[in-house]
Symmetry: C2
Subunit: 236 residues, 2 copies
């Protein structure tokens, strides 16, 4: 079975939701038969790359709240993160454009290191306050994830590298009707929206597992195929 998770590194509920999904997966009997894939979704794709700044000020401005109110919003997420055993610092984090980290996550996917880089990126952004909007930090995270440094730097330096892969993920999200993240898609058949409780994920996994029945297309009888007993033989 295959679970695709659309998310953004700048999305706190994606960070929390990933931990809840993993807890839900842990309780699923066929967990070893589940492949998990990260898909790109930018919350703020139109923000200029140079336009980074403190999360609290961004929140206050976005919602028309005071800094104290913004701090309370962050505290609410922090409480949920801590409940999942995740670090979460409510002060000193930056907000910005996540296109480059998504491009790098696609390089990591091609090299079999996506899961490693994803965990490092979330931790850097939410728990360690290393800026994922800074090329040097991204390069360091790539190397920590097991990628080749020269290749990481080449991708970061070339804005077109894996750009289409990011856009393609975002197009697919739109086609599937996802307009917020995290968004979980199981075998392209079931969708779970948001950082739901772990039990919801276990239930969704069980439902998708039960529903794994293929609908045949084409005339099976006429097919030209090979099996353990040989290929179909033309009439002698």
């Amino acid at each position: 079975m295959r679970v695709e998770i659309w998310s953004d590194i700048a999305c706190p509920w994606c960070y929390v939701g990933k931990a809840r999904f993993e807890k839900g997966l842990e309780a699923f009997a066929h967990r070893d038969d589940v492949e998990v894939v990260h898909r790109s979704f930018e919350l703020d794709p139109h923000r200029a790359k140079s336009d980074t700044g403190p999360v609290l000020e961004m929140l206050a401005k976005k919602y028309g709240r005071t800094l104290d109110e913004a701090r309370a919003m962050e505290q609410h997420v922090a409480t949920n993160a801590h409940a999942e055993g995740l670090g979460y610092r409510t002060e000193g984090r930056d907000h910005g454009n996540t296109f480059d980290i998504h491009r790098l996550l696609h390089l990591a996917k091609a090299r079999g290191r996506q899961s490693e880089l994803l965990d490092l990126a979330y931790r850097a952004n939410f728990a360690e306050e290393r800026s994922v909007f800074d090329a040097e930090t991204l390069a360091a995270l790539g190397v920590e994830a097991g990628l080749d440094e020269a290749e990481v730097r080449a991708v970061l330096a070339d804005e077109s590298a894996y750009a289409e892969a990011v856009r393609e993920d975002e197009r697919e999200a739109a086609e599937l009707g996802a307009n917020s993240v995290p968004f979980f898609v199981l075998d392209r058949r079931y969708g779970v929206s948001g950082g739901q409780p772990a039990e919801v994920f276990t239930q969704a996994l069980e439902q998708a597992w039960q529903g794994r029945v293929l609908q045949p297309v084409g005339a099976e009888a006429d097919a030209e195929a090979c099996g353990p007993d040989g290929c179909e033989v033309p009439r002698a």
Copy 2:
């Protein structure tokens, strides 16, 4: 959309079926949104690695036919291959155990080179009569596909490398009810068995595209999520 193709390098209808699928894909309007993944299926998993020999003799023995009858069977496939613009030599090919080439295809998948290696392996086996049962040829094919030679040789030398990935593909095939190849699975929802005509694949792709509706699981209203307009805000 995602198409998984279970096949074996030793399977002539997989070779022909892949070309027919690609022709069917070419006629599909959303072809650029289709990801194609190779899945392992061994026709002869219990054959000893050292047990290789001419295909014609294997066919004659397997079906209790004369060598001339076996030659006619191969000629039948060759006619179909040529109709797809594929080379196919009916004499001089060997048959054997394909476990190593499947393991190598999984390394290639991890390195983003699976499609390249798959095409090279089919061509080597069916059109060029390079033996894919020979470690030196496999190493050369891996390098031609863009893989790192040292890594290719390490995988070939270590029988456990990617062995579980091959077995897992084969377990999944059994779970999906596939007992012959090629077997095409579209978004884990539709199955096409055998090297069907290109139009069948186009039709299956169109059917799967229409059917891309996700069934929601979990209480969407309560979900904690972030969208372009921000994350859900706790009531002030």
